[in-house]
């Protein structure tokens, strides 16, 4: 594998590019020094640098992808997916009903029984390698489409979502003929037909996290993309066609919540995988109780970012900004609670505000944009409502001067201070660019506060002292701990939560366990 084939490591990426570094250099301690980049203390002006959308040819209407073909949904229903940055409609997309889900599950079963299950692992793997390659080849188009449908900045789709999705297929392709080494016995078997439901925050990447391990392990899949971001999944269906994937191995059934319910409760599904809200996850777990079906859930979080007084503060500022403003904060593992040691809190917040003032919010297709549009009006309303509780409960909100575009769904980067553990903004997942700041005096207090949540997905630790980092990481009840970094992801690295953040892991050897018996 040559070096240009892998997603760029964060250090190789251009300033502020994907991998989660929002709007600045990789954590190198220069975050606030740029404040003085002009004598008047103002940040540099940037000329517009829009990515062209001509690389994407939108269809007027999108059909579901079942048994290797796009064919109209039997339901006859459609929804309109729109660009959250300007609210202009992008396309009509089918809403799959019961008959469509039935057909997709039946196609997946047929493909499982007649083709995929018994295909030698080495051959299965080659299809996944092909998919990875086609995704790389169509990367530009995919990135622009994802940004149009989702609202996230092009530099994130271009440098993070799409290359990481391709990397997941590349990684899992190699597992297909090595499953005996996955730790599930010498002759592990696939589970069967997988029903998979993914969220709108990383539409293509979450699809890759679901489909790549399922296929590598010999399963077939029916996937439902999110209601507001179906387009990249349907583009992925084209990728499957282009890769020559046998019909029925991957089926894409766009639709709404009801389509998802039909899919996860379908008697023909052997395994359900869901990424989304804890509330919906609970409902799925209830639905599947007593059925014997396998279930993995990747749910909400309220990640704590702990900054000790000896941390490299500018690096920590970059990490905290990246932790909560990456992807507009629509990240289940976002570091949405900042726990900063009291002795440095004031100085840290000053640097944080200075750094936030440099964030550029606006046109997601502009290559300089740090913060794009909120994906939907409904999500914007949720963010507003929760932020309002923060004010109502006595916390103090601050946002940098940040003109919002007139059209589209926007929320300015916001930091709440004067927050206590009882405040809703400190307890509930906001899923938006909103940071709640709490302080602590001792490491024990930091850990106790970090763990004081029913969630347990992610946490961050910032300290220059190795033993303190390890001590803290050991005590954090979270599935992923980032120390002196945040929001790093890799196909080889297991991701998933403790407690009410769900169960099961995605990525790495551990991720295969969900798809093997």
């Amino acid at each position: 594998m040559s070096s240009e084939d892998r997603p760029r490591a964060p250090e190789e990426q251009a300033a502020g590019a994907g991998g989660g570094e929002v709007g600045g250099e990789a954590a190198d301690g220069h975050g606030t020094s740029r404040k003085g980049s002009r004598l008047d203390g103002q940040p540099l002006e940037y000329a517009p640098a829009p990515e062209s959308r001509s690389v994407v040819r939108l269809r007027e209407a999108y059909d579901p992808f079942i048994d290797g073909e796009f064919a109209p949904a039997k339901s006859g229903e459609h929804l309109t997916t729109a660009n959250p940055a300007d609210e202009e409609p992008l396309a009509q997309v089918a809403v799959c009903g019961e008959a469509d889900v039935d057909r997709a599950v039946a196609a997946a079963r047929r493909a499982y029984d007649t083709v995929w299950r018994d295909l030698p692992g080495a051959e299965r793997g080659k299809y996944l390698f092909r998919i990875a390659r086609v995704l790389q080849e169509r990367a530009r188009e995919t990135a622009v489409l994802e940004t149009l449908d989702n609202g996230k900045p092009i530099k994130e789709t271009r440098d993070f979502d799409v290359p990481m999705a391709a990397a997941h297929f590349f990684y899992h392709a190699g597992w297909a003929d090595k499953l005996a080494y996955a730790g599930m016995g010498s002759d592990p078997r696939p589970v069967g037909v997988c029903a998979q439901v993914v969220p709108w925050n990383f539409p293509l990447l979450m699809l890759a996290w679901k489909i790549a391990p399922a296929l590598a392990a010999g399963n077939t899949a029916v996937l439902k993309p999110a209601e507001t971001t179906p387009l990249s999944a349907l583009l992925f269906a084209e990728v499957c066609q282009e890769a020559g994937l046998p019909p029925g191995v991957v089926n894409i059934v766009p639709g709404d919540g009801e389509t998802g319910r039909l899919l996860v409760s379908h008697p023909g599904a052997d395994k359900v995988a869901f990424t989304g809200s804890t509330e919906v996850g609970r409902g799925i777990a209830r639905t599947l109780a007593g059925t014997g079906k396998r279930l993995t859930l990747e749910l909400g979080g309220k990640g704590a970012n702990i900054v000790y007084d000896d941390a490299a503060l500018d690096q920590a500022v970059e990490g905290v900004v990246n932790g909560v403003f990456f992807n507009q904060g629509h990240v289940c593992c976002a570091g949405s609670r900042l726990l900063v040691q009291e002795s440095v809190a004031e100085e840290f917040l000053e640097r944080l505000r200075a750094r936030m003032a440099l964030l550029r919010l606006g046109d997601p297709l502009d290559k300089n944009t740090d913060i794009g549009a909120v994906n939907s009006a409904a999500q914007l309303e949720r963010i507003r409502a929760l932020a309002e509780t923060g004010r109502a409960e006595g916390a103090e909100a601050w946002s940098p001067p940040c003109p919002l575009p007139e059209r589209g769904h926007w929320f300015p980067p916001t930091v709440f201070t004067g927050v206590t553990q009882a405040h809703r903004v400190a307890r509930e997942e906001i899923f938006g660019p909103v940071l709640s700041v709490l302080t602590f005096r001792t490491p024990e207090e930091a850990v106790a506060k970090a763990n004081n949540t029913p969630y347990g997905l992610s946490a961050g630790v910032w300290t220059e002292k190795g033993s303190r980092m390890l001590w803290t990481a050991e005590r954090l009840r979270a599935g992923v701990v980032w120390s002196n970094t945040f929001n790093r992801f890799d196909p080889a690295s297991p991701f998933g939560g403790y407690k009410e953040s769900g169960y099961g892991r995605e990525g790495g050897r551990h991720g295969l366990e969900a798809y093997l018996v």
Binding site: A289, V480, V481, W482, T485, R488, S493
Partner: protein
Amino acid sequence: MSEHRHDGAAAPRVAVRKTHKLYIGGAFPRSESGRSYPVASADGEHLANAGMASRKDARDAVAAARKAFPGWAGRTAYNRGQVLYRAAEMMEGRRAQFAAELSAATGAGRPEAEREVSAAIDRWVYYAGWTDKAAQVLGGTNPVSGPYDNRSAPEPTGVVAVLAPQDAPLLGLVSVLAPVVAMGNTAVLVASERAPLPAVALAEVLATSDLPGGVANILTGRTAELAPPLAAHADVNALDLAGALDVAGAGDLAADLEEAAAETLKRVLRPDPAVEWEADPGLGRIRPFLETKTVWHPVGT
């Protein structure tokens, strides 16, 4: 004097019977409800009255298990292994008692009961050996494409509610409890409803095995009464439903418990009707009660 009859002959000694109590937080309380229930042998003979734990006892046991969790999970793996091995040693010293109780409970002949006692003791030894190996087998270094040190290691999930199998009152009991506590979880175990006496004897073994109080809590009573509050308890992280099969009058108890557990997204190990307790257990009962934690750190000068 009073210990001699006036005719000088010694009176037949009256045996000192045991009160079968619960085991919570390292102590042996009676049920706070004051209830007990009669336990009969396989052929219907009255053996003893066992404590009939209440929902309140179950909640107390969860509180004790939660309190014990950080300390037990924080022990070194080597130390946990030694404590589990100590439990085997203590059981070995009480072989005769366990064999007799097992015989009475299941109607098994003495040689068969002896064999099961041996298997149960050996199971403690088996899991004692896993404590400091599972992390290497299940964890490791992840080769990420960037300048990061990235490792995954298993950690105990927390408080595990365990329904011990109804029809394997000793080997089944040890087979479900040992893997849970081996890796640093703490347990609230509901003993076999029909044959709880071996579980009470096991509690006495654990109380003298250096297992810190609260790491294993053992309740006797009605499975259908105790399991639902445990399945719904917000401070219970996981549920082993081995004993949810064949509970008289409870309908599809396993499904109901799984549904209750969904509310707090507990990890649930479903019962396997075909389970063979004699078989090599492998990691099958260890893995479900572990969480994988992945830690990232940049590499640089």
